[in-house]
């Protein structure tokens, strides 16, 4: 500690170490938050159901979700997306992302939106006629410091018509 530079170096090292420590504790404090998100999705109508070499569906969804409890003081944003999941003879699980959103804060986390699918729902083949599928709302909680974690709500019981429109 005999010189200016020596003390400055020691202080900087210790300060950064302590900063890392409080960020780690801040990240761990997320474990104590109570989280109960909820969501409901309805298919309003199916606009188009054709086969251009591969089956393609265009539909309108009514998405009603409350993700407010996912937000803590250490949350930067929540990325949520709706995926259609179904099984085909070729693949045991197909997941097609239909819509997504970035939620920047708690106020925007409770919403009801009616929208056509943002991304195209295209199958690998001709398997969608009369197909039963789940609509799953996935979310990724991105913290300000710490580990990102993801979870989902699976909503089964949706199906497509038996014939092309």
């Amino acid at each position: 500690m005999h010189s200016f530079g020596y003390r400055a170096n020691a202080l900087l090292t210790f300060a950064v170490t302590a900063l890392a420590f409080i960020c780690a504790i801040a990240s761990l404090s997320d474990k104590f938050s109570n989280q109960n998100p909820s969501a409901e999705i309805q298919i309003l109508y199916i606009k188009r159901f054709k086969s251009y070499g591969n089956d393609e569906v265009s539909l309108t969804l009514d998405i009603n979700a409350d993700l407010q409890s996912l937000f803590t003081w250490n949350t930067k944003q929540v990325f949520a997306f709706v995926a259609a999941e179904y099984e085909t003879p070729k693949n045991s699980l197909n997941q097609v992302s239909l819509w997504d959103v970035i939620i920047p804060d708690k106020e925007h986390a409770k919403f009801r939106i009616q929208t056509s699918n943002k991304y195209r729902f295209i199958d690998q083949g001709h398997n969608l006629r009369g197909k039963e599928f789940n609509l799953t709302l996935h979310w990724h909680v991105m913290p300000k410091t710490g580990k990102m974690f993801a979870d989902k709500i699976v909503m089964p019981g949706y199906s497509l018509p038996d014939a092309y429109k």
Binding site: R7, L19, I22, W73, N74
Partner: protein
């Protein structure tokens, strides 16, 4: 700075930074504001820098007594003796 001052500077730095970290976390957590935590901690680091880094007089309360240069010239430098065992004296 003298020896006592250096020890004091190191202790002060560690304690002040720890206090700043604890206060920053507690206030940030209770106000649910990450930004507050960062600002308080930055302020704490700034205050600690001002207190411990410059060579304040209170760090020099036990100054070392160096030999006067004119006095040193009067006495020749000690000869280096090569010996197998060397007893080192405590400071």
């Amino acid at each position: 700075m003298d020896w006592q001052g250096q020890k004091l500077a190191e202790q002060l730095m560690q304690i002040l930074l720890l206090i700043a970290a604890v206060v920053a976390f507690v206030v940030g957590y209770t106000t649910a504001s990450f930004r507050t935590m960062m600002l308080i901690y930055a302020g704490g680091v700034g205050v600690t820098t001002l207190i411990t880094i410059p060579n304040w007089p209170f760090f020099n309360r036990h100054p070392l007594k160096w030999l006067d240069p004119s006095e040193a010239e009067k006495h020749p430098k000690p000869e280096v003796v090569v010996s197998s065992k060397k007893k080192s004296s405590k400071k």
